[in-house]
Symmetry: C2
Subunit: 161 residues, 2 copies
């Protein structure tokens, strides 16, 4: 029950991209900024691209940019893009097996165990859906430094220049 490590990178990258004002940022820049593997981060960004969260621009001075307002991108979107939308619990319907198997026609509804898991999974996703990239960016400014986002923005501009 561990989340893929790439999720953290993807989240941080989305926050940084929200400071770039829709200007494309190359993977190499993002990787350098976070001091992580460029190639592996590229894999995560591809997943974000496939999920429609970021838009890729090729060629010189290309890169990735958010496709919509940071306030319209939830943490859940990013998590599901990287880690998949599959539920945390996969019911194998073992009640239909064994000497006292429940007949299949009685199994139209998920069993109590599965329901509890689905409910918990829903609570988890709901919590993640509550937080947007814009929230993350705002909290970063508020909590850690006076204007990290502005500094990041400037750093991105310098690097691009």
């Amino acid at each position: 029950m561990k989340l893929s490590g790439g999720v953290e990178w993807a989240l941080h990258c989305c926050v940084v991209l929200s400071a770039a004002n829709s200007a494309p940022v190359a993977v190499a820049r993002l990787a350098e900024f976070h001091d992580v593997s460029t190639t592996y981060l590229a894999k995560q960004m591809q997943a974000l691209s496939r999920a429609g969260i970021v838009r890729s621009t090729q060629g010189h001075s290309g890169g990735y940019a958010l496709t919509r307002e940071p306030s319209k991108i939830t943490v859940l979107d990013i998590v599901e893009a990287i880690d998949g939308t599959q539920s945390t619990f996969a019911c194998t319907e073992i009640r239909q097996r064994g000497p006292m198997a429940t007949p299949a026609e009685a199994c139209v509804k998920p069993c109590a165990i599965n329901r509890a898991m689905i409910s918990a999974d829903r609570a988890w996703r709901d919590a993640l859906r509550e937080v947007t990239v814009a929230d993350l960016a705002r909290d970063v400014d508020k909590d850690y430094d006076a204007d990290v986002m502005a500094t990041v923005s400037g750093w991105l501009a310098d690097e691009t220049a």
Copy 2:
């Protein structure tokens, strides 16, 4: 982000054990009932034993039994026994890395991303804590058959005899 498959087995086993009235049930019986691997199920039961959820009795007519009332055993207890208590998200503090690293003394509090994840994790665990083994057993009776629990209890008695 997938839960260990053994969690499902452990949950079902705890429900069955709640029908056994504290009488020890061997792993072989549980495995036969669910039609799953005996040896692997044994591993899960060992984890439950280590967590103090079940008590093992050795020797002839030994086996596993719940250590406390089914209403005092939550789904979360079982999940954490099998899958560990570690959080779903492991913050690697990448904000302290790279050319614009945040100084460590400013990182006394978890970052916004980590906080969102912790909050979601908490919501998930809270939901699992709400459901007990007694609830599961009751719902099994209510939803699927007239008195599955009684039948299970009788089956266990027959097998033991």
